[in-house]
């Protein structure tokens, strides 16, 4: 782990933004112009496949990986090295090792999360799966190997719990984060399980959940067993972590080693439950969330049927509602944990997709929202990217 807390601020992006939209029935790419006013939709790719994540490699801005399965066929990874023109299937997709005779082995149901590796490790990727597994590729996603330091850790079973401890469509490993200063310094999130950290490239792991509530457990502050919905690390201040958790919005200064709930300053009628959390690319104190109703039986829709993003510009001390352009009532949006994203322009563009198949965009940091696509299948992920030339 490194001690420096910040690096220089990169210039704002100016190129055309594309949105990689992963859905329950395939993937789509929304291509915007440089002004982010008009959007053209291409797809579906992998029509009929459940695509949990479609990710561009920022190191070459050409390589794309898609985590896919169908409702009936096994999980796989598709790869493109030319920006999506041509696709090849991974030769060995993420899979757990075969168990010794007489023992029950784990089976990857689907790959849920994809993270390109550290800038110094070309062609390295990480994948998080359901049930919880961490996998690594060193050849651009063609072949995958288990990260046994996590998957076979002596405490794996305690940390991950059973299948009943996960989300409705299976427990997941997500939010694979890499310290931009140190390729061996990794974080992961698990639903359920909590946040975990490795400082040795994945050989060993430790829980990192101090200060974070897990109010659905007998001990509301356990060492592990939490439900982080989405965890983010700021690339310019990698010792600052944020998470949207099942039990609120949290921030951690890594040196302090304890999560601080910053969602308690949200309006009480809204609460601080949600799935996604999105960071400003150049200001670690600015972030957005998309609250959902986490009361009663957990509808997971916009509180009161009035969808809105909330932004803080002071690391969670205060929050402002951002709903201009969204339905003022009867708008029951659900925005999943990978389905909200920011571009790197100035002002920052924000994007989210709903389980009702709509994509919304704001080109002024949430000040005004417009619907830029509708009638798509249930949206699982939205990634804002800029392809290389």
């Amino acid at each position: 782990m490194k001690n420096s807390s910040s690096t220089s601020i990169p210039p704002a992006a100016t190129g055309a933004v594309a949105l990689l939209v992963a859905t329950r029935k395939g993937a789509f790419i929304l291509k915007g112009d440089k002004s982010r006013r008009t959007w053209n939709i291409a797809g579906p790719l992998f029509f009929g496949h459940t695509v949990h994540h479609l990710v561009l490699d920022p190191r070459d801005r050409r390589t794309l990986l898609a985590a896919a399965r169908t409702g009936h066929l096994g999980p796989t990874i598709f790869r493109s090295s030319d920006g999506g023109k041509n696709w090849q299937e991974a030769a060995t997709p993420p899979a757990f090792p075969k168990a010794p005779e007489g023992q029950k082995g784990r089976v990857v149901d689907h790959t849920f999360w994809l993270t390109p590796g550290h800038a110094s490790e070309a062609n390295v990727w990480y994948a998080g799966t359901s049930p919880q597994g961490l996998f690594r590729s060193e050849d651009g996603g063609a072949t995958w190997a288990p990260v046994s330091g996590f998957n076979d850790h002596a405490q794996y079973s305690q940390w991950t719990g059973g299948e009943q401890d996960g989300t409705p469509d299976g427990p997941k490993l997500h939010s694979v984060l890499i310290d931009p200063r140190d390729a061996r310094h990794l974080y992961i999130g698990m639903s359920s399980g909590g946040v975990f950290e490795s400082v040795d490239g994945g050989a060993d792991w430790k829980p990192l959940n101090a200060g974070c509530r897990a109010d659905f457990r007998p001990d509301p502050y356990p060492e592990y067993g939490h439900d982080p919905h989405c965890v983010r690390l700021h690339p310019l201040a990698p010792d600052i972590l944020y998470q949207q958790n099942h039990c609120g919005i949290y921030r951690m200064e890594r040196a302090a080693g304890s999560w601080v709930r910053i969602g308690e300053s949200m309006p009480k009628r809204i609460g601080d439950i949600g799935f996604p959390i999105v960071l400003h690319p150049r200001d670690p104190a600015v972030l957005w969330v998309f609250p959902m109703d986490g009361t009663s039986v957990w509808p997971r829709t916009s509180p009161g049927g009035k969808p809105a993003a909330y932004v803080t510009r002071n690391a969670g001390k205060t929050w402002q509602r951002q709903d201009a352009g969204m339905p003022p009532s009867q708008g029951w949006f659900t925005v999943k944990r990978q389905a909200m994203s920011a571009d790197a322009h100035e002002p920052v563009g924000l994007y989210f997709g709903t389980t009702g198949g709509e994509v919304w965009a704001s080109k002024n940091e949430g000040g005004k929202w417009v619907s830029i696509a509708r009638y798509l299948p249930e949206i699982y992920a939205v990634e804002a990217v800029e392809f290389g030339r």
């Binding site: 066929l73 030769a91 899979a95």
Partner: protein
């Protein structure tokens, strides 16, 4: 021997509904099928060598659930994918 491929897997067999594969057990036939059409086996068989939940395999009309099931050269393997959900 003849292997009949269900429609969802024909992207691997260039659209062919029927193909050839060799082996003296069902497992060997599926390995040979994967050699000819890389990736097809893992969509049907998981990493613990279990037939996936919605896949059914019939040999000469009878369902087979074990990969060590012995096959003869004239047997016909019929792979079926069940559909459910929306």
């Amino acid at each position: 021997m003849n292997v009949l491929i269900p429609e969802p897997l024909r992207s691997y067999t260039e659209g062919q509904r029927q193909t050839e594969a060799d082996g003296v057990t069902l497992g060997e036939v599926l390995q040979d099928l994967d050699r000819r059409y890389p990736g097809i086996r893992f969509r049907m068989i998981d990493e613990q060598d279990a037939i996936r939940r919605h896949i059914r395999i019939f040999v000469n009309g009878a369902e087979v659930r074990a990969l060590d099931f012995a096959l003869g050269a004239s047997d016909e393997v019929f792979i079926i994918q069940a559909l459910s959900g929306g």
